[in-house]
């Protein structure tokens, strides 16, 4: 039988890996936008806080951050719940895992987004203001649409690194593709078959991501002339 009958279970693991990646990415984008906004806000306090955030996160291995936030968060939440007179909370690993990954990659996206915003000529924002647009309108009509184009290459990179980082969540007990492969290997004594299978699936996901985001980059760059030497 194909993969000893474990193929559907592995595919379900793939589904959960993709779900985790997508959820973490949305959280990371949120943190990234807030971080980039803080760094460019002109407020010294906000910029300092964002600097501490990105420096700390980028100076530590993802696995250590995962363990620290996952186990530390568990204890903190329960200490808070205890003070509030609530019972014991068992933190949902999916929620904790995606929040943690989102928080980590938010730091990397902060730099990507900051660079992308800086790449937009200042005069355009001034022109927007001169037309009487509010800050929100300048952000929505001028900055965001152009920022996407500048951010896509860095964004692609971070997304690829993040999909691969979700594999680490299996270490803190999340039921992802790696976890499924662990179970199947233990049951069938064919570990190589299963790890090679999931490696192939990761490769397929990264390949499709590269193709899609490349297409998106071309789409957002319509009307931008390339320099020809």
């Amino acid at each position: 039988m194909f993969l000893h009958g474990y193929f559907p279970a592995i595919l379900e693991g793939l589904r959960s890996t993709l779900l985790i990646s997508a959820a973490s990415l949305s959280i990371a984008c949120l943190f990234g936008l807030i971080g980039a906004g803080a760094k460019l806000s002109g407020s010294r306090m906000a910029a300092l806080a964002a600097d501490v955030y990105t420096t700390l996160i980028r100076g530590l291995p993802e696995l250590v951050l995962l363990l620290l936030i996952f186990y530390g968060g568990q204890i903190m939440v329960n200490a808070l719940a205890d003070k509030a007179g609530l019972g014991y909370f068992d933190i949902n690993p999916f929620l904790a895992g995606t929040l943690t990954l989102g928080f980590i990659f938010g730091a990397y996206l902060t730099e990507t987004f900051r660079g992308a915003i800086l790449a937009i000529p200042r005069g355009q924002m001034e022109a927007g203001k001169a037309y009487g647009m509010s800050r929100g309108q300048v952000l929505r009509r001028i900055i965001l649409p152009q920022m996407v184009r500048h951010a896509i290459p860095g964004f692609t990179n971070n997304w690829l690194v993040m999909i691969k980082a979700t594999a680490l969540l299996s270490i803190i007990g999340l039921d992802d593709m790696v976890h499924r492969a662990n179970l199947a290997s233990a049951a069938t004594r064919a570990p190589f078959t299963f790890y090679a299978t999931i490696a192939g699936l990761y490769l397929a996901v990264t390949t499709i991501s590269i193709l899609l985001l490349g297409w998106l980059e071309r789409r957002f760059s319509l009307g931008v002339r390339k320099v020809e030497f």
Partner: protein, 236 residues
């Protein structure tokens, strides 16, 4: 509150973990550097029989998680009876050897791409000049292309060194007691996540910044000729 007594008590364990992490990093980085120089040369070769297989290698490695690669080598290879009965089996049964192999192969893929990128940036005039002086291909690589490409690759290679340092934490998944495993053991024994993982975070943070500082020093030494001039000299 922070339990300082626990930190003081487990401090020697952490120092030992630090030693193991640094050794793991050193052996992985040296192997990957030695491997990636010839692979980068093959990667930029106009001969597709040389460049395509290297591209395939770097693409597959860079497209899959390191944890899965490590599992494939450490847990996976035991599936094959011919390997279990070969003389190489004691090696593949050893967690250290498997971790070293996985990290070295992984880092080789990234380093190869970094070096190949730097080789491609060589000003074509330099190559033409070397050829017109009658240098052989080997001499051109040894004297012209590699020295300047490795210098150009230095900033990115520094990032890769930090990545490998951080990647060694994954060895904790295959019984190697390096820094992260030490922290996990301390956590399981005392259920003190902030002390256990906070302390190990400090260690990683210090190593990361020491590495960044080291690369900055090397850049100052080897990329001195590329530094912008501070004062534009007045033309005589």
């Amino acid at each position: 509150m922070i339990d300082w007594a626990l930190i003081a008590e487990s401090w020697p364990l952490y120092l030992n973990g630090l030693k193991v992490s640094l050794i793991l990093m050193a052996i992985s980085v040296s192997a990957s550097f030695l491997l990636s120089v010839p692979l980068a040369i093959a990667r930029v070769s106009p001969n597709p029989w040389l460049s395509k297989p290297v591209f395939l290698y770097t693409y597959v490695i860079r497209g899959t998680p390191l944890l899965v690669q490590l599992y494939m080598i450490y847990f996976g290879l035991a599936q094959f009876e011919w390997l279990r009965e070969s003389i190489a089996w004691p090696l593949f049964r050893n967690a250290w050897f498997c971790a070293w192999l996985a990290f070295a192969l992984n880092s080789t893929a990234y380093t190869t791409e970094i070096l190949a990128g730097a080789l491609r940036q060589t000003p074509s005039g330099e190559l033409e000049a070397a050829r017109s002086l009658g240098m052989s291909t080997a001499t051109i690589y040894g004297r012209i292309l590699l020295p300047s490409a490795i210098r150009r690759a230095l900033p990115q290679y520094g990032n890769e060194l930090v990545m490998v340092m951080h990647a060694t934490s994954i060895a904790s998944a295959v019984t190697i007691v390096e820094l992260t495993r030490t922290a996990r053991d301390v956590y399981y024994n005392h259920l003190a996540p902030f002390e256990a993982f906070g302390l190990v975070a400090v260690f990683y943070f210090v190593i990361t910044f020491a590495l960044v500082g080291l690369v900055k020093l090397l850049e100052g030494r080897f990329l001195r000729h590329l530094r912008p001039m501070s004062v534009p000299s007045k033309a005589a």
